[in-house]
């Protein structure tokens, strides 16, 4: 066994222990430790990715001394490694981009608490990605929820508390269902390790036994995770949670936390139940329907919103709809499109949040749509970044959103019955996206009247004023262009990863 194979385990443990470590440090040092941890994990994950690419296969890492089916396991393939690398990268950039806001919005005595949460979140995300054990997954789901809740409520005002508690309630509903589902699975198969469960499920399915319980189980798990990842109509908590928490929280929550759950769902589909059984269970049709409705409704809500942060948050609802629609096709192409969209949306949404904060900084910290007039001139980089993000969301060629739209459309054409609703939903949702995103872009490039400017005294922000944020924005734009222009290796990786995923 090569040393590099230990890295997934190391990274989980490292971030898990970095959390408590932060509690004894002051804010500044906690920040440094946190950044260092994320960077190290990024490096390790990259090494793992390189390793898996080299071997071209996945491997199982046994935790402790108990072999399957008793022990706990980690399983690493290309897909997992890629996700880990990507999640670390985005998280790093989000943390860098939100430095200023954190200092401003979080009480100085609580600074280090924030980093505890981030570290725990990272470890739980990594665990969700890597683990091969269902119950471990459940535990980390809960850790994830708790730390995410912490991220929301760390900026202390009424809105965030309310958002946090709503988030908790919905999350707990979801995890209750997930837990029940896991229990059912355990009951049906007698295993907790994914690979073993799958063997048993295959036998059960072949013999036709327990058809109904199996169906209910798949349903419970899917719905549970759907609730947790804010699939329409379970999104009520989302706008407040994303809209009022501190910047890096919003960015991380929108781009990573929900994606972690979705990745877990993919894993359950492929590695626990078996995708063929899922497809036959018709549960994906339900996901498809809600995905499509979410695409439309999320955008409509976003159009009605006049707070830019909440608008971006609502857009997440729509984008998550895309991802579930991709699942709903029940084809490999659809799955690849969804996975790509997980990446693409994560990259874009965090970019949008950071850019939006740059814009609001230049508008007297107002998030109101009308105060943003001309902000693109006051903070040039943020304006450009927001435009890039918006274009990507609209699916403009050259940016990553285009590729995911392309993949979705190709997947749609591939599936006969869902073709028309999917395509029309894609088109309509593109139009709706255009409406609210480009409206904002035009707004920030409409010069404000002189009198208003004189009265409101907006700050002009250059790149030097906000070095960290600017650096993050530049990286985000680069990532966006990279995924837009050189998507092929990524898509190829996803394909190969998915093949050895099950």
């Amino acid at each position: 066994m090569e040393f590099v194979q230990n890295f997934p385990f190391f990274s989980i443990i490292l971030s898990l222990f970095a959390g408590p470590l932060c509690s004894i440090l002051n804010g500044k040092w906690a920040k440094r430790v946190n950044l260092a941890v994320i960077t190290i994990i990024l490096a390790m994950s990259s090494a793992v990715l390189a390793f898996t690419l080299r071997t071209g296969d996945s491997y199982v890492y046994m935790m402790g001394h108990f072999p399957a089916p008793w022990g706990n396991e980690i399983r690493v393939g290309m897909l997992e490694a890629l996700m880990a690398v990507f999640f670390c990268l985005i998280m790093l950039l989000c943390m860098i981009g939100g430095v200023l806001e954190r200092e401003r919005e979080i009480e100085s005595t609580k600074q280090n608490l924030y980093y505890i949460m981030v570290n725990l979140l990272l470890s739980s995300l990594l665990a969700l990605i890597y683990t091969n054990d269902l119950f471990t997954a459940y535990v980390f789901v809960e850790i994830n929820t708790i730390s995410a809740c912490g991220l929301i409520m760390i900026r202390q005002n009424g809105r965030t508390f309310e958002a946090a508690i709503r988030y908790m309630i919905m999350s707990l509903l979801g995890s209750g269902m997930l837990l029940l589902g896991i229990c059912f699975l355990y009951d049906l198969t007698g295993h907790l390790l994914m690979s073993n469960i799958k063997e048993q499920v295959a036998i059960l399915n072949a013999s036709g036994q327990y058809h109904m319980p199996l169906l209910i189980t798949v349903g419970l798990i899917s719905v549970g995770i759907a609730i947790k990842s804010a699939l329409f109509p379970f999104h009520a908590w989302l706008p407040d949670a994303y809209g009022y928490s501190t910047l890096s929280s919003a960015a991380i929550l929108s781009s990573l936390v929900s994606k972690g759950y979705i990745f877990l769902l993919v894993k359950i589909f492929y590695r626990v139940i078996g995708f063929d059984i899922v497809r036959d269970s018709k549960i994906i049709n339900v996901l498809f329907v809600f995905g499509v409705i979410g695409m439309i409704m999320g955008s409509i809500s976003a159009i009605k919103e006049s707070n830019i942060r909440r608008m971006i948050a609502y857009s997440s609802v729509a984008q998550i709809g895309y991802i579930y629609m991709g699942f709903g096709f029940g084809t490999e192409l659809g799955m690849i499109a969804s996975l790509y969209h997980i990446i693409s949306h994560a990259a874009t949404k965090s970019l949008l949040f950071v850019a939006a904060s740059g814009i609001t900084d230049a508008s007297g910290d107002s998030t109101d749509f009308f105060d943003l007039t001309g902000a693109g001139y006051r903070n040039k980089l943020a304006g450009i970044a927001f435009t890039v993000g918006a274009l990507s969301m609209v699916g403009f060629p050259l940016f990553t959103g285009f590729i995911s739209k392309l993949l979705f459309a190709q997947a749609a054409v591939d599936s006969y019955h869902k073709l028309l609703p999917a395509l029309i939903a894609l088109a309509v949702s593109t139009i709706l996206n255009t409406v609210y995103f480009m409206k904002t872009v035009i707004r920030i490039y409409t010069p404000e009247k002189r009198e208003v400017l004189a009265k409101k005294q907006y700050q002009v922000i250059t790149m030097k004023d906000q070095k960290w944020k600017s650096a993050a924005l530049v990286c985000f734009i680069a990532i966006n262009l990279f995924f837009g222009l050189y998507s092929e290796p990524v898509v190829g990786l996803l394909e190969r990863g998915l093949k050895i995923f099950a």
Partner: protein, 125 residues
């Protein structure tokens, strides 16, 4: 026949009913404390279910008292372990919820979530 199955497995049925009660309480109650109670009922229902699955008629708990007996003497220990883990999780979640509730109560002097929402809208935050 289905009804007979239901009666034979009445423990599981009870667990599910409890889960339903907890779930709907968590979802529908306005009062935050009642929601938390609902959460706990829901979790407990799942633990009950798990424990039931681990229990084998006529066997003992896997606690070694007079030397190790053969495996057949004990019930399945894994669900018990899971339940324990689950309890830890639910305790921490409950704690978090309660702390949040306290925060909100201090601010708004009410436990009604809808009331809080309307207040928030009035605050215009």
């Amino acid at each position: 026949m289905n009804l007979a199955n239901l009666f034979n497995n009445y423990e599981e049925a009870v667990a599910m009913i409890l889960f339903g009660i907890g779930f709907s309480n968590l979802l529908l109650q306005k009062n935050l404390i009642k929601k938390i109670i609902g959460l706990n009922i829901m979790d407990t229902a799942v633990y009950l279910f798990l424990a039931l699955k681990g229990y084998i008629e006529g066997r003992k708990a896997p606690i070694v008292v007079n030397g190790v007996q053969s495996v057949e003497a004990y019930i399945n220990p894994i669900p018990s372990g899971l339940v324990l883990t689950g309890i830890v999780v639910s305790v921490s979640v409950t704690a978090l919820m309660l702390s949040l509730t306290i925060r909100l109560y201090r601010r708004y002097h009410t436990l009604d979530l809808d009331e809080i929402s309307t207040r928030l809208k009035k605050e215009g935050l």
